[in-house]
């Protein structure tokens, strides 16, 4: 199958964060895999609203996008500009992207970096384009007639291998771990190597779209203390209950660490919201991250994957967190943590 495999990048409102950049790289990696499996060219489509002053974006690759492209071979870089993209609602964005796909011959795969915006777009585009919509895709493989898509299920405990008809259009969201697990770009893209164009499409909301009206985006007021912490002790539901937080705090004190938690722990009110690590909470980059009773759902790993050394203590030997850990201890944390505190104290007390 020839055709086009698209990495779709949504231009952010302000600057491109490292997280957003890694998601764009992840979508590009997957677009490359899709082209390798299904044939055709890799193209990047950068979707953006017009500038506030009404002038057009220049037909060239923005500097940040060159970094995301790295040494990737891309046959075309399209700047897709449309006023509807300024609404930043999934319905409006999907309308524009669907029009762009219909305007272009032979698009067989669309890859979006997995985030809160992309998941919505995936569902809407799947329906509008008659495509198979699949989120959180790790891998695509197989041949033209027998396409396989791999994604995690059951909180990352298992991988599902899905079969999709070879001629299906695919709309995929791709977690940034896909970029991290691949080769990092060694260089900044030379834009002369790919065709750069401005893509114009006709799209309007009048056709079908009942949408919502975004009134405001609120930033959280409190400072991200965890973001700069050197050491973190994080607790999950495996802790058993808020009455056991004292144990985790003792360990945190012994290590000189901040205390943090997974989403279920914060949802249950054991810890305040500003202590949550994960895609909906904070992204942390400590030297040491000790995960107590945390199973390791993808949303949590997203927030802590920048940790230099992860230690996991969990009763379940199959908890996904162990795959991200440098050191793991399988056991009851209520026995292991006191032993760990004792080992730290004893170690301090005995001169070597």
């Amino acid at each position: 199958m020839s055709g086009k495999s698209w990495a779709v990048w949504l231009a952010p409102d302000v600057e491109v964060s490292a997280t957003a950049a890694s998601r764009m790289m992840a979508s590009l990696r997957m677009a490359q895999s899709a082209a390798a499996v299904r044939g055709g060219n890799v193209e990047v489509v950068l979707a953006e609203a017009p500038r506030p002053d009404g002038t057009r974006h220049p037909t060239r690759v923005p500097a940040w996008a060159k970094e995301c492209l790295g040494d990737s071979v891309v046959s075309r870089f399209s700047r897709l500009e449309h006023p509807l993209l300024a609404l930043r609602t999934p319905g409006a964005t999907a309308t524009v992207l669907a029009a762009a796909v219909e305007h272009t011959d032979g698009v067989h795969t669309l890859c979006l970096g997995h985030d809160y915006e992309a998941v919505d777009l995936c569902g809407l585009l799947g329906r509008r384009l008659g495509a198979a919509a699949i989120t959180a895709v790790n891998e695509i493989r197989g041949g033209a007639g027998d396409l396989r898509v791999i994604r995690p299920v059951h909180g990352g405990r298992f991988l599902a291998e899905l079969r999709v008809p070879g001629d299906a259009m695919l709309v995929l969201t791709v977690p940034r771990s896909v970029a991290a697990s691949s080769r990092q770009p060694a260089q900044i893209a030379d834009e002369n190597r790919c065709e750069v164009e401005t893509l114009e499409v006709e799209a309007s909301l009048f056709r079908s779209l009942p949408d919502r009206e975004v009134l405001a985006i609120e930033e959280s007021g409190s400072p991200p203390e965890l973001a700069t912490a050197e050491r973190i002790v994080a607790v999950g539901r495996g802790l058993g209950g808020p009455e056991h937080l004292g144990l985790a705090r003792q360990l945190a004190t012994a290590l000189g660490a901040e205390i943090a938690g997974s989403r279920p722990v914060v949802d249950s009110g054991w810890l305040p919201a500003d202590r949550q690590v994960g895609s909906s909470g904070q992204t942390v980059n400590p030297t040491l991250y000790v995960a107590l009773g945390i199973s390791g759902a993808a949303q949590h790993l997203e927030g802590m994957s920048g940790s230099r050394c992860v230690v996991a203590i969990n009763r379940d030997p199959e908890a996904p967190i162990f795959r991200s850990a440098r050191y793991g201890i399988v056991g009851d944390l209520h026995a292991v943590v006191p032993a760990l505190i004792a080992a730290l104290v004893e170690d301090q007390g005995e001169p070597t």
């Binding site: 569902g123 959180a136 995690p152």
Partner: protein
Amino acid sequence: MLREEPGPLPDFMRVCVCLRQVPDPRARLELRTDGTGLREDGVAWVTDEGDECALEEALRLVRQTGGEVCALTAGPGRAAETLRRALALGAQRALHLRGELPLDPSRVADLLAAVLRREAWDVVITGAQSSDLGWGLTGSSLAAGLGWPHVWLVVGIETEGDSKDTRLRITRELEGRRRELSRVRLPAVLCVQTGLHPPRMPRIRDLLAAKNTPIETLALDDLLSDSHGEEARPAVELVALSAPTASSGGEQLGGDPATAARELVRRLRRDGILPETT
């Protein structure tokens, strides 16, 4: 930008909550030896946590505005348990789409849309992402099928205005602890994030009483033929489930807790993660 003003909030809200029965995410799950799926013997089935939160929001919304909550589930016979629990918690009606649920959330959404179109609803509420498959797509696919707006990752639902001109103001969670406030016209699909309000627990008495409440049942197969009128979409099928292979670097420290703990501290110091003792 031209857009329709949100319509008035009805005096009597008709809310449908879509609930999914999932294997208890806290229990140990095992694969079938042929790798085609989970071993279902001994699996404890529970209502998905996100959907329980959705039910909680539906009950709160209807208490505020007046109206009725209908609990809807699709799945085999055992899924009726999820409906009985919803009835015990305060849902007035229960609707069971009985049969084997397709894997692809787009197909699930087609089925839900086929049944929801038979009646008038003001709001459909469901969880943002199930703990088993976790695609996060059912809500948006359903909304697209019905031609309604939807909001994913809802963390706040408020009514505004008076009874003549009321709308829903929805707070939604973005990344990095940012939130988006929007105004939504009804009917709409809301996909609720966990943690908004702790879901209530049913009382034994209510659970017993719910056993006598009739559950309306429809055969999924009949709906499947109904919804085949929708534009054809490629079939996504499960070929195999597998345990991921262990990634590089992970080292398990064995022995009793004291030995494992001492080993851990020694390694963290060796690796320069913790400072050497002086």
